[in-house]
């Protein structure tokens, strides 16, 4: 006979990633609960996820001491059931969101304790542009769907305590007080858990305090660019000519280009931008957020500071980098740090130094039988040694040859035709102009990556932008679609779907792709 249930079984769902100590966490909870005299059951699904990927653990216990149960035993479930989970512990934001998506986080019942940091999934990481999942909705879902949501950066705390995230999660659980277990009990269990006990305890306490003091770790902001090197003259010009909303990007650009070549070169940037800024003002950019100016400036600066071997050598020998590497490697002051660079310059890198004529001759020679790769020389430079440093700095010093080089001439041609197109498109329609400017996003990287990006850029300009312009039609939408397609896969399949001439044409048999 179904009695009116006095106590419900208490369900705890743990969502973690392989190697984050989810199993240890489950065992701690089971031990604590069982030592408190409750009937408890746990299970897990390591499955294929034993190595990486998501794993789940599910714990249920009956919050009435076994001693009071007589010969009765509660029925404990092996799988979580939507609406009947009391606590969800998630070691990462998207894993937390996944439990919400599956309906395990119930507004009437579930307390969600999760780390707000991101561990990116392979699909997000491997994207050619920005493939990351928007954390806004993820956070919103966690906060709105949970009876109580406790989210903070546990990864930071785990690092601080020199432990893994599981102990911080347990601290968070203890802090919320939703389980009828004394926090001291958890501490006791952790203390008896062997070698890493000390670090685990530290992690536990950090998590516990974070919840009880409502203190949450803040995520670091993007560094503000150092513009100390920008000359007063250029600053004045920028402030005089540009709308205030666009000046942050403008200043960043000037700083970058001064650093890249010199003040004169940075001035060239302002000259090139002048007609764009004028156009933007004519087109009522104020209502459009000055996006033609902002986006064109952004990419113009990046393209004018293309990464040639001199630039790379310079970036790799800056003082700030040596300090960053030490911090990143968590090296103690007493510990020497050695840095080995993986450089492999080839003909095209050489052409970033050689004059145009010689460059063309050289490239024709090496590309004749399509084995340019053979002409790349591997250099494993030790930039922490004096000779290594000097080698790199000598390379960097070759920037004097930059402006007469084959590469510089090519970039100049590309930049100027692109700028002209942005103006034409902007004249037709504001958004069209912005989209064409944005297309410069495709041109990045080195070697094949750079060439592939350039080809995609060109085919969009020729096949979509040019026809639209000659017809005086707004091609904004088509350009945006083509650009997204170009960033969809590195084999150009998606783009080929829009622009047949671009990318490979796939043969199929019975609808199946032949590769």
């Amino acid at each position: 006979m179904a009695k009116s249930t006095k106590a419900q079984p208490f369900g705890i769902l743990i969502a973690a990633l392989g190697g984050e100590g989810g199993g240890v966490l489950a065992n701690w909870i089971v031990k604590a609960v069982s030592e408190c005299g409750y009937y408890v059951q746990s299970t897990s699904l390591p499955g294929v996820a034993q190595r990486t990927g998501g794993t789940t653990y599910f714990i249920e216990f009956y919050p009435v001491p076994i001693s009071d149960l007589g010969d009765q035993r509660p029925n404990l479930s092996l799988t979580p059931m939507p609406g009947r989970v009391d606590v969800v512990l998630a070691s990462e934001l998207i894993e937390a969101a996944r439990t919400v998506q599956n309906g395990f986080v119930d507004p009437k019942r579930t307390t969600l304790i999760a780390s707000s940091h991101r561990v990116f999934a392979i699909a997000e990481k491997a994207a050619m542009g920005d493939g990351t999942f928007d954390i806004g909705p993820a956070l919103k879902a966690c906060n709105e769907m949970a009876k109580r949501a406790v989210l903070f950066d546990m990864e930071e705390m785990a690092a601080e305590a020199g432990t893994v995230i599981s102990s911080v999660l347990l601290g968070g659980l203890a802090g919320t007080g939703v389980v009828p277990i004394d926090p001291n009990k958890f501490e006791e269990v952790i203390s008896n858990s062997g070698r890493a006990a000390k670090a685990s305890l530290a992690g536990f306490r950090l998590g516990y305090d974070a919840v009880t003091n409502k203190s949450t770790a803040s995520t670091p902001l993007a560094a503000v660019p150092d513009v100390g090197n920008v000359s007063a003259r250029l600053r004045e010009r920028l402030e005089g000519e540009w709308p205030i909303e666009a000046q942050y990007i403008g200043m960043s650009a000037l700083a970058r280009l001064t650093d890249y070549q010199n003040e004169k070169y940075a001035g060239l940037f302002l000259d090139r931008m002048a007609p764009i800024v004028t156009l933007d003002k004519e087109k009522g950019g104020a209502r459009q957020g000055w996006n033609i100016t902002k986006e064109t400036a952004r990419y113009l600066a990046l393209r004018m500071s293309y990464e040639d071997i001199m630039r790379v050598a310079y970036l790799k020998t800056r003082k700030s980098r040596y300090d960053r590497i030490r911090d990143e490697a968590l090296a103690k002051n007493s510990e020497p740090v050695q840095v080995r660079e993986y450089l492999k310059p080839g003909p095209e890198e050489l052409c970033a130094i050689l004059p145009e004529g010689i460059g063309n001759w050289l490239l024709n020679r090496v590309r004749r039988n399509g084995n340019e790769a053979r002409f790349h020389v591997g250099m494993h430079v030790r930039s922490d040694t004096i000779t290594g440093f000097i080698t790199m700095r000598l390379l960097a010093a070759l920037r004097r040859l930059r402006k007469t080089s084959w590469r510089f001439k090519q970039e100049t041609r590309l930049i100027e035709s692109w700028l002209a197109t942005v103006q034409k498109a902007g004249a037709v329609n504001y958004k069209f102009g912005v989209e064409v400017a944005e297309c410069a996003r495709l041109i990045k990287g080195y070697g094949n990556t750079y060439r592939r990006g350039l080809e995609n850029f060109n085919s969009i300009m020729d096949e979509i932008v040019a026809p639209a312009l000659s017809a005086g039609r707004n091609g904004a939408k088509a350009v945006a679609e083509a650009r997204d397609a170009a960033l969809a896969d590195s084999e150009g399949k998606a783009l080929a779907g829009i622009i047949p001439s671009a990318g490979p044409v796939e043969k199929t048999i019975g609808g199946r792709l032949l590769q």
Binding site: M1, A7, L17, G18, V40, S42, P46, G47, A49, F58, S77, L78, T79, M81, P82, R84, I94, A97, N102, G103, V105, D106, P107, V119, F120, A123, G129, T132, F133, P137, A141, M145, A223, V224, P225, D226, G228, Y248, S252, R298, L302, E307, K319, S320, E328, S334, P336, V337, Q338, V339, E341, Y342, D384, I386, F389, K444, G445, Y446, N448, T449
Partner: protein, 711 residues
């Protein structure tokens, strides 16, 4: 030594009658075996049952005391063949492996065991890898039990029931001269719980008391006329005996409920889920007392007609809760009810999930659909409907807020995995010579078929990578590249694949991924590990075995050497020379390596010895955010972050502190000429005097040359 040690847990295997055992499902089964007086035990690792073999090898002294022989079998067929010991002799034995794949491999031996039948009890403990988190094709073991006519137990997920049934299984096996299968699903294998133990039992015949005289009985041989007699015995003698035993020993459970006209018949393994759903509907209490009568089948094959008739009689509708398909039980019960002329409606596949695990959600939806379809005046439908409606609302709202489904997190290679560079090399070679057909195999390396590599066109089963290429190899303009792990190589790949390839003088390339262990299942030892599970030297080598079966072209390549891997692979694929070219890709599983090295390094550090720590890094300033390096790696520690450059929109690549400095990312970026952003950092811990002098000199001089720059 396997990944996980049970040295501590196995102590509990000694406890006796009255004491309470607390632990995992697989440990409970092991205890059940010891309480049943087995003489021998063996198995082949595979999730979710891998740890059972680990537990056994960790419990060798206990096995020794009881005179139990432990065998690490070559594969599942070998494991079942081992049970042949029980055909002629009154000795009990048990083996374990994963199902369905393992059972498929074993099915020839199983038929030849089932037909003559057994004298001593024979139990096969199966890890039923069906449903969420499974690593294999989705099929039920039930069909195998039916066609070989061996009994199938599906115990209620509760350690007491599991242990009792383990003991009963041997009695059933002996009472019916039939081997018995016991299926345990993944969640049950990993389930923690408690049960009251009994004393271990030493077998009459064991290592301590050997059998004197061999026994011969022509009717125990799988040859006519024996086979015809055996087939008759199955139906005339063994089947009725099984029905009788199951009834008399009440292996199946009748749960009475106050509602008369409706009932549920379920596999034992489904019990907790069914009751939880009934609780959600207010039809059961927290102790599992249900208003709906339940027939819990701890034995799902054979079914006991009398029990089923008794349960279905006078009921309007009965639901069959049976996981997966085909719905063998449902069909059998339907026809039984039909034959007896009962009016009872048998429901099952019409309301329950046909394919996939019956998890919490599936139970809620299925059982509520049953109650809605077959209304009972005694069941209030409102709370039933509400439970499902609330779930729907929550899921709908969540989906609405999230906008799009959150990204999937497929499994991949671990940080520092020595298999990663193999597939990076294949991708890079493909860029030079065009795509090749990859005939993949089972093992960690199968993950290469997933993002980011997507290398692997077919997977036909364990050790079958090379065999599955033979139909195609002669039809492909470019040579087919077959994969095989060292586990699969010894499981059957050496004969089924390599020997036969040489025998037929086929053409192709085989990459044997030699990481030293059966790694995906938890580092169980294999012949080429060098030692067996008892840590005895084996002196068996893959290359020797290959040459032994007549392979002419064998190359050993250290996987992290991307350049060498690429050139070897390229020449193997492009060479005009016919025949099998084998590349042994060598690199010890990083997890095993770490487990062995970490303590040593820690010790060296505390002794003040000089230790170099290596990690890789990416220069944010020169990274342009194309992530080609990630598409050639997928390393967990090679990830992305928001660029701190206000001009860059795309996230840049970074290496996190989990990096173990294997060098794959740097080498690949180098070999693929991707970009100059990668660098290798060596941190000298406990530096010697000269280290410090040299370093400070370098710092000073370089610092002087950098003067004037902002830090």
């Amino acid at each position: 030594m396997p990944e996980r040690s049970f040295a501590k847990e196995v102590k509990q295997l000694r406890i006796g009658t009255g004491e309470v055992f607390e632990g995992e499902g697989i440990l409970a089964v092991t205890k059940g075996l010891l309480q049943s007086g087995i003489s021998y035990v063996g198995g082949y690792q595979g999730a979710p049952i891998s740890h059972l073999t680990d537990v056994l090898s960790d419990a060798q002294d206990i096995l020794g005391e009881l005179g139990i022989h432990l065998e690490t079998c070559a594969n599942e067929a070998g494991a079942v063949a081992m049970l042949g010991a029980s055909i002629n002799y009154p000795i009990r034995g048990a083996v374990t492996f994963k199902s369905i794949v393992g059972t498929n491999v074993a099915s020839d031996a199983l038929s030849n065991l089932a037909s003559p039948g057994v004298t001593g009890g024979a139990l096969i403990v199966l890890g039923e890898d069906y449903g969420e988190g499974s690593s294999i094709i989705q099929e039920r073991t039930h069909a195998i039990a039916m066609k070989s006519q061996v009994w199938l137990l599906d115990p209620k997920p509760d350690l007491t029931t599991i242990v009792d049934l383990t003991e009963k299984a041997f009695e059933l096996s002996e009472a019916t001269n039939t081997p018995v299968l016991m299926e345990l699903r993944a969640r049950v294998c990993h389930m923690s719980g408690r049960f009251e133990a009994r004393d271990n039992v030493a077998a009459e015949h064991s290592l301590n008391n050997k059998i004197e005289t061999p026994h011969f009985d022509l009717n125990h041989i799988s040859l006519p006329p024996g086979t015809y007699i055996q087939e008759k015995l199955k139906v005339d003698v063994r089947w009725p005996a099984a029905i009788k035993f199951i009834k008399e020993n009440k292996l199946n459970e009748f749960h009475k409920g106050k509602i008369r006209d409706t009932g549920i018949i379920l596999q034992g393994g489904m019990y907790n889920g069914v009751v939880r759903a009934l609780q959600a509907f207010g039809l059961a209490d927290e102790f599992g007392n249900s208003d709906i009568p339940l027939l819990v089948l701890n034995v799902v094959y054979p079914l006991v007609p009398d029990e089923l008739k008794k349960f279905c009689k006078d009921k309007k509708a009965v639901l069959i809760v049976e996981e997966g398909q085909p719905k063998f039980m449902e069909h059998e019960i339907k026809s039984l009810v039909l034959d007896t002329g009962m009016k009872t409606k048998i429901s099952g596949s019409d309301v329950m999930l046909m394919a996939g695990e019956l998890n919490g959600e599936a139970m809620l939806r299925g059982i509520s659909a049953f109650f809605k379809k077959h209304r009972s005046k005694d069941i209030q439908i409102a709370p039933v409907a509400r439970a499902v409606k609330e779930m729907d609302n929550v899921q709908a709202k969540a989906a609405e807020i999230l906008g799009e489904p959150v990204p999937l997190r497929p499994p991949g290679f671990c940080t520092g995995c020595p298999e990663r560079p193999i597939f990076a090399a294949i991708k890079l070679v493909e860029e030079q010579i065009g795509k090749v057909h990859i005939s993949a195999d089972i093992g960690c390396h199968t993950f290469a078929a997933l993002a980011p590599f997507n290398l692997g066109n077919t997977v036909l089963g364990y050790g079958l990578g090379l065999a599955s290429s033979t139909g195609l190899s002669s039809m492909m303009s470019r040579k087919v590249v077959s994969m095989m792990g060292d586990g699969g190589f010894w499981h059957n790949g050496l004969t089924t694949g390599v020997a036969n390839h040489v025998f037929n003088q086929d053409d192709g390339v085989l990459i044997v991924v030699s990481n030293g262990y059966s790694s995906a299942t938890g580092h169980q030892h294999i012949p080429s590990t060098g030692t067996n599970s008892r840590d005895q030297e084996t002196g068996m080598e893959i290359e020797t075995a290959l040459r032994g079966v007549g392979v002419k072209s064998v190359e050993r390549v250290e996987t992290y050497n991307i350049a060498k891997m690429m050139s070897t692979l390229k020449s193997a694929i492009t060479t005009k020379k016919k025949g099998l070219k084998v590349i042994i890709a060598e690199g010890e599983c990083r997890l095993a390596l770490q487990r062995r090295e970490k303590p040593k390094i820690a010790a060296a550090l505390s002794d003040g010895k000089r230790v170099e720590r290596v990690r890789f890094g990416v220069d944010e300033e020169s990274c342009t955010g194309d992530h080609a390096c990630i598409r050639l790696s997928g390393c967990p520690t090679l990830t992305i972050k928001e660029s701190s450059d206000p001009l860059r929109k795309d996230p840049v690549t970074q290496v996190t502190n989990g990096c173990v400095g294997c060098g794959n990312c740097g080498e690949v970026a180098h070999a693929a000429i991707l970009c100059p952003s990668f660098y290798r950092t060596t941190i000298v811990q406990n530096p010697k005097f000269m280290d410090r002098v040299l370093y400070s000199v370098r710092r000073t001089v370089i610092g002087w040359m950098q003067r004037g720059e902002m830090a």
